[in-house]
């Protein structure tokens, strides 16, 4: 090894030693310009549509002869529709009886709540009291006002609404109907 080589070797040693002295710290990787990605969440529900396919009808009714106090007639929501008559009798002719039948459509397999605008509506004709509504769903069976129904895999359900009509005495045979507004809200 000639003198130049020796000097060069010494220089390398100096360089390393000096570098280690100046950079005496423990080198750590530089991590900067970092990022993170996130996701929000929102669930969109299709609006439910409600259409009345059959109106609420109590059939053609009259109060029992000689009964001054009137009476009630109740039609059930669950099929087959049945009438319960108290102080009222069916008269021949007319349409019905039938519970109100609604067709509900929306997102498949979604739940919905059903409620009534008012606990009492008026009959037509007469504006007699129609109350004590009951609900029956093709998908869920008997449910209560404010209760939960379910749309099937096709996104449909059939909802039947029963009620009780209270009539005064002295009613001549008449076909009684009523409109029962309901509210359906997807859940």
């Amino acid at each position: 090894m000639n003198s130049s080589h020796r000097y060069f070797a010494r220089a390398i040693v100096w360089a390393v030693a000096l570098a280690l002295t100046l950079g005496a710290g423990v080198a750590a990787p530089t991590v900067r310009n970092v990022s993170a990605t996130g996701h929000a969440a929102i669930t969109i529900l299709r609006p439910t549509s409600t259409s009345l396919t059959t109106g609420l009808s109590f059939g053609r009714l009259g109060t029992n002869s000689g009964r001054a106090g009137g009476g009630t007639v109740t039609i059930t929501s669950a099929p087959p529709a049945a009438l319960a008559l108290v102080g009222v009798e069916r008269a021949g002719g007319g349409s019905g009886p039938s519970p109100a039948v609604y067709s509900i459509k929306g997102d498949k397999n979604r739940a919905y709540t059903v409620s009534f605008f008012s606990p009492v509506v008026a009959s037509s004709p007469g504006s007699y009291r129609v109350s004590k509504f009951t609900l029956w769903s093709a998908n869920s069976g008997t449910i209560t006002s404010g209760g939960i129904g379910h749309l099937n895999v096709m996104g449909t359900d059939t909802l039947r609404v029963g009620a009780t009509l209270t009539v005064p005495g002295g009613i001549l045979p008449t076909n009684f109907t009523a409109v029962v507004p309901i509210t359906i809200l997807a859940q």
Partner: protein, 205 residues
């Protein structure tokens, strides 16, 4: 004499060269030693989750705003009805600086500030993020954080001045905690179900 002169000149040249290299290497090593590690907590999924909303028609649009500070949800526009009630949990991100040299300099003397940007909204099929809002809590690793620029736009940012000098020894220090709110818009697309629009939080450096 000639040979000795030549050798001396050669020796001096080599020493100068070596010193130059040494200073360069030393500077590099010193810089690396003081380098800080900036980290950000992991991205969060399904936050905020504002729950179910019902369209008034199959393609009706609307925007809900989630407030970063309170988590409250309000309707900005549109005719959609939110089924879920109440506030929501907002995503939070923690910005951390870790000392790299095992010594006394926290974020490295070369790092004076960090800028955080929330941006890059990525639309889902039927929903997107129309704007961001944020609130920032100062951590012990920051001297100060400036006001958030771009509130309620699609790109917001703020800059924090980091503390140099603590904690040392490879410890991490929180520079800032970011609570993130946003405007989530329903697009005019007949598509239902859960939507997960995305976004990015990034730092510079």
């Amino acid at each position: 004499m000639r040979i000795e002169d030549s050798a001396m000149r050669s020796s001096s040249a080599v020493r100068v060269t070596a010193l130059t290299f040494a200073l360069l290497f030393g500077a590099i090593l010193a810089d690396r030693a003081e380098a800080a590690t900036i980290s950000l907590s992991a991205g969060q999924s399904a936050l905020p989750n504002i729950g179910k909303v019902v369209q008034s028609t199959p393609t009706s649009t609307g925007t809900f705003r989630v407030d970063a500070s309170t988590g409250s949800v309000s309707v900005i526009s549109g005719t959609l009805t939110r089924v879920s009630a109440g506030g929501v949990t907002v995503p939070t991100y923690t910005l951390t600086c870790t000392n790299g040299n095992g010594g006394a300099a926290a974020c490295g003397n070369s790092l004076s500030s960090v800028t955080v940007t929330v941006h890059n909204p990525v639309a889902a099929t039927a929903a997107t993020i129309a704007a961001f809002n944020a609130s920032v809590a100062l951590g012990v690793g920051a001297n100060s954080c400036g006001a958030v620029a771009g509130q309620n736009t699609t790109s917001l940012s703020f800059t924090c001045t980091v503390v140099n000098g603590n904690p040392g020894n490879g410890r991490a220090e929180t520079v800032a905690t970011i609570s993130l709110g946003m405007d989530i818009s329903i697009l005019s697309v007949a598509n239902t179900g859960q939507q997960n629009p995305g976004y990015t939080v990034s730092t510079n450096p």
